[in-house]
């Protein structure tokens, strides 16, 4: 399948890429990993007149730990994060990076592209909502910092101006005694999840002192069910507490029926995933090693 013809621009720096976006106008799109954009262009759902390629810019793919924060270059591929020793202490990041689509897609797809696309079924936004995450956004006039929760505005819609791009993703390292987990349920590896759940818990013995919960694919953006977080925080993590949290999350979910499942099915699935990630996160917060990967049907 041939995408519609477009003009190709190879950027040498992120600043130049932003300037090109500004000069070329709304018909220009950025090409990062291309694992969503290229299929959309082949199906002619996206028909940009100009593509600005970010793949040849040096120094945009990195993972650095500095002052209690992890800094990701915008073009860092999912596979690089999956294989990085720097994220082993934050297992929820590994859960996400190692579970996205399949090997081939993880070798190309980028964290910056995933967040900037803001697909409601994407993995990174849901996961990073449970950690303190900020995005550095670069435009022709300079850089600004936006919290992830303010960055994702709607399905496929972010706070980025037409001539802005994500120049770095900064994630605060969770405190000691904190554990997280992410699970996505997929019909097969290469497809988007049907539903997903991310949890980051801070534990003091059996008491959960802090909880961040985000659910994916069950709304136009990742959903933070504050009621579920409130049900967990300050309480002993018993089966009853967990059931209460799952119950509290349900009313705020707004899934759409589609080929992946009915709205009711997705709501039930999201609840089941939430229960499971709370249990895994609690074990990890206590220092246990728990392997998880995305679940396939």
């Amino acid at each position: 399948m041939y995408p519609r013809a477009f003009h190709y621009h190879r950027a040498d720096s992120l600043t130049q890429a932003a300037t090109l976006l500004s000069e070329l106008g709304a018909e220009a799109k950025l090409l990062a990993g291309g694992q969503s954009l290229i299929p959309l262009m082949k199906l002619r759902f996206a028909n940009p007149t100009h593509l600005v390629d970010l793949n040849f810019i040096a120094g945009t793919s990195y993972i650095r730990k500095e002052d209690g924060e992890i800094h990701f270059g915008p073009m860092t591929r999912h596979a690089e994060i999956e294989n990085s020793g720097l994220v082993t202490n934050i297992p929820i990041l590994h859960d996400c990076a190692a579970g996205i689509a399949d090997v081939q897609v993880r070798n190309r797809g980028t964290i910056g592209g995933s967040l900037a696309e803001a697909d409601p079924s994407g993995d990174w936004a849901t996961v990073l909502m449970t950690l303190a995450t900020e995005l550095r956004c670069l435009g022709p006039d300079g850089e600004r910092t936006i919290a992830l929760s303010d960055f994702i505005k709607d399905a496929y819609t972010t706070a980025l101006a037409q001539d802005e791009l994500v120049s770095e993703v900064v994630v605060k390292v969770p405190p000691k005694g904190s554990g997280g987990a992410y699970l996505a349920f997929k019909r097969s590896a290469p497809v988007y999840p049907t539903a997903s759940a991310a949890v980051q818990l801070t534990m003091d013995g059996d008491i959960c002192t802090q909880a961040a919960v985000a659910l994916g694919c069950v709304g136009l953006t990742p959903i933070r069910p504050k009621e579920a977080e409130a049900a967990l925080a300050g309480n002993e993590l018993t089966e009853k507490t967990i059931a209460h949290a799952v119950e509290a999350a349900e009313p705020v979910l707004d899934p759409q029926s589609d080929m992946r499942g009915s709205a009711d099915y997705k709501r039930t699935l999201a609840g089941a995933l939430l229960k499971r990630v709370i249990q895994i996160a609690a074990r990890r917060a206590r220092g246990e090693q728990v392997e998880v990967s995305h679940l396939y049907a």
Binding site: R4, A5, H7, Y8, G34, K42, T49, A101, R108, S188
Partner: protein
């Protein structure tokens, strides 16, 4: 309509041979390989980033060549199924797929061979889960995967002994 689209000059190594070609920006890597370089061993299955039949190695990493523009492969080294054999001898992975009946119609096989090569070049003795994860992006509609997994195991043994 936009003004005339200019072609882009790119150079890339495919199976160790350097090619300098002009491509339209919208040309996909798989189309460059099959239609301009006559390397038709790389197959197009779904053409929607699902099936993995078009998998090739780009600088050692498995990619779906239907989801990479040829211009993005400028300066890179590509390995396709045609580059696996050496001096008329099948690559140990190819041989293992044949010996273990790891294929039936063979359409998905070129992609599976290259996904297997990425796996074994990074992990000499993969476990069952690692093997399954490594080929999760390659769809085979004939074999049911059991013989493919046997082939990967046997290829791992052969490559280690070689």
């Amino acid at each position: 309509m936009p003004e005339a689209i200019s072609k882009v000059a790119i150079s890339l190594k495919v199976n160790s041979k350097l090619h300098s070609v002009q491509v339209e920006p919208r040309t996909l890597l798989v189309e460059l390989l099959r239609e301009q370089l006559d390397l038709t061993g790389t197959h197009v299955g779904c053409d929607t980033t699902y099936c993995g039949a078009c998998t090739v190695l780009m600088n050692g990493a498995a990619v779906k060549s239907c989801t990479v523009f040829a211009v993005q492969a400028d300066g890179s080294e590509i390995l396709t199924v045609e580059g696996l054999e050496k001096d008329g001898q099948l690559h140990p992975i190819q041989k293992a797929f044949g010996d273990a009946y790891g294929l039936q119609c063979g359409f998905c096989t070129p992609g599976l061979l290259l996904s297997t090569l990425q796996l074994l070049s990074r992990n000499e003795q993969p476990g069952d889960t690692e093997m399954r994860k490594a080929i999760a992006g390659n769809t085979c509609r004939c074999t049911g995967y059991q013989n493919i997994l046997k082939a990967i195991q046997s290829a791992a043994r052969n490559m280690k002994d070689a």
